[in-house]
């Protein structure tokens, strides 16, 4: 079978800093894969490589079987197919929530304004933020900002969504509302790759877990295996520290 996303021996280093050393894994369409591991294990780097925000040093990243790391390819149309949401939201502070969401479809897809308004309003309604469309980012709670960031990525109609520790900057009581959105996306059939520290969520929602340490995948498999019967001692050590 062909996978939606396939990483083959991906290498990326920044001098000696956190990098990836030969990462390979597959994500099938509609699957939710969680990357876990301590800070600096290479999770974020990997996601940034998949989104082509970083160029890989070696290896291949296949989207629908097509190598997207080919340096001759124009990265813009590929990025539109891959949404990414960041830990620090990165909303544009000078635009209100609606403008944040509408900017890229308007510029990239040249969607007519009337149609854009309809689809954007529908997105905000779908994620329970219809009354917040006119608010600027600094008028929104962390959880609301992160949901707007997710809506902004969704507005480009991506085929796959990457989440880089999207709940790590949130107050504990706001984490739930964002995780609910992720579940909702999964249930609607979206393909998701998460770098996360939310072990409870990973266990409950993930189809596959990859445990990364120092830039390599130490162990991967379904959540029951990773959480209940980890084979590697490094996995056990990590889990005992975080759970």
């Amino acid at each position: 079978m062909t996978y939606k996303l396939q990483l083959l021996d991906v290498n990326k280093s920044f001098g000696s800093l956190e990098g990836c050393k030969g990462i390979s894994f597959n994500v099938a369409k509609g699957e939710l894969v969680c990357l876990i591991g301590s800070s600096g294990s290479g999770k974020s780097t990997l996601l940034r490589c998949i989104n082509l925000l970083e160029e890989v040093d070696a290896g291949q990243i296949l989207l629908d079987g097509e190598d997207i790391t080919d340096p001759d390819l124009d990265p813009l149309p590929i990025r539109r197919r891959i949404g990414i949401v960041f830990q620090s939201f990165n909303l544009f502070p000078h635009m209100n929530a609606m403008e944040n969401v509408m900017l890229a479809p308007r510029r990239v897809y040249k969607t007519p304004r009337a149609q854009l308004l309809t689809t954007t309003t529908a997105l905000f309604e779908r994620f329970g933020l219809a009354d917040r469309m006119k608010n600027y980012p600094d008028q929104l709670s962390g959880g609301q900002q992160q949901r707007v960031a997710i809506i902004r990525a969704l507005a480009m109609k991506p085929e796959i969504m990457l989440f880089d520790e999207v709940t790590s900057a949130l107050d504990p009581e706001l984490v739930g509302e964002v995780l609910d959105v992720l579940l909702q996306l999964k249930n609607e059939g979206m393909t998701l790759v998460l770098a996360t520290h939310e072990m409870g969520f990973a266990r409950k929602a993930a189809d596959n877990i990859c445990f990364l340490d120092q830039g390599v995948i130490v162990e991967s498999g379904p959540p029951e295996q990773i959480f209940d019967n980890p084979e590697q001692s490094r996995t056990r050590e990590f889990l005992s520290r975080v759970m």
Binding site: F86, N90, L91, F92, L103, A104, R107, V108, D138, A153
Partner: protein, 289 residues
């Protein structure tokens, strides 16, 4: 103040040791009043000292005659005010050109693709040159040099070429201010915009520049005030604007008071302009709340 540990009981406004809320407020009010009083007295003391001590200087009578001559001030002031219209005009047409040309240089210096390297090189050399050469030299070289090519009227006017010199010099400084603003926007904003599939120019135009320009308003306001004064440098190549007019009067009356008049006029612009800019920024901030 020592607290009797034996007496600690649930803190209410009655039982808590030390100052009560009212006592605190009273004390603060008293302290505030005292600071105001001290500030007032020390200011008055300084001014009195200047008022009484300066006239004791041996040359005071002469200085008073040649710098603070009320009669000459009255006689020259209206003409000076008229000459100032030239400064305003030169300022008014150079400021917008500087704002645009400075931005173009800043964007040229920010160009990242290898094909645009010549643009970046141009921006760098341009800024090196025009920030390195004193304004007055640029005015002399361009203001005298270009009309020297024998251009027909009105293209040999010192007003035009003096303005060009000002624009070229100030754009170099302003472009550096723009650039500092562009660079102050966190890389994550660029990443977020790029990840949505926006191209380099759209990222700049819709995400980076609107934030960067807002951030550098105060710094550019400073440049605007400096420009307003440097317009007077054009007097060295001909235009009879305020400074030049004051110089003419100085020679005519053999008295420096017209320079004082010119200073008063120059001062009248930046102070309200700065307040206006502050108010504009404050209003902009409030609109977003």
């Amino acid at each position: 103040m020592s607290v009797d540990t034996k007496k600690i009981s649930p803190a209410t406004s009655e039982t808590v040791a030390g100052y009560s809320k009212q006592a605190r407020q009273l004390r603060e009010a008293k302290m505030r009043k005292r600071s105001t009083l001290i500030a007032t007295f020390s200011t008055i003391a300084v001014f009195l000292a200047i008022y009484f001590l300066v006239p004791l200087a041996p040359g005071w009578e002469k200085v008073k005659q040649s710098f603070f001559n009320w009669e000459i001030f009255q006689k020259t002031f209206p003409t000076l005010l008229n000459a100032f219209l030239w400064d305003i005009a030169i300022f008014a047409w150079s400021a917008p050109i500087i704002a645009v040309w400075g931005l173009i240089i800043a964007l040229a210096r920010d160009a990242r693709s290898p094909a645009l390297f010549p643009l970046r090189l141009f921006g760098t050399i341009y800024n090196d040159i025009f920030r390195g050469v004193p304004v007055i030299l640029a005015i002399y070289l361009i203001g005298f040099g270009v009309p020297g090519l024998g251009l027909p009227r009105p293209w040999n006017s010192p007003y035009i070429w003096g303005t060009v010199a000002l624009v070229l010099t100030y754009s170099a400084y302003v472009s550096e201010i723009y650039r500092s603003g562009i660079e102050s926007i966190h890389e994550s904003q660029r990443a977020a915009a790029k990840s949505l599939g926006l191209n380099h120019w759209d990222v700049m135009r819709f995400v980076i520049l609107p934030q960067a320009l807002r951030r550098v308003v105060p710094a550019n306001m400073n440049m605007l005030i400096a420009l307003q004064k440097d317009v007077a440098l054009l007097s060295f190549i001909g235009p009879v604007e305020l400074l030049r007019q004051a110089g003419v009067f100085k020679s005519l009356f053999a008295n420096f008071t017209p320079y004082l008049g010119a200073s008063v006029i120059f001062l009248a612009v930046p102070i309200p302009a700065t307040r206006l800019a502050d108010a504009m920024m404050a209003r902009q901030d409030k609109q977003r709340r």
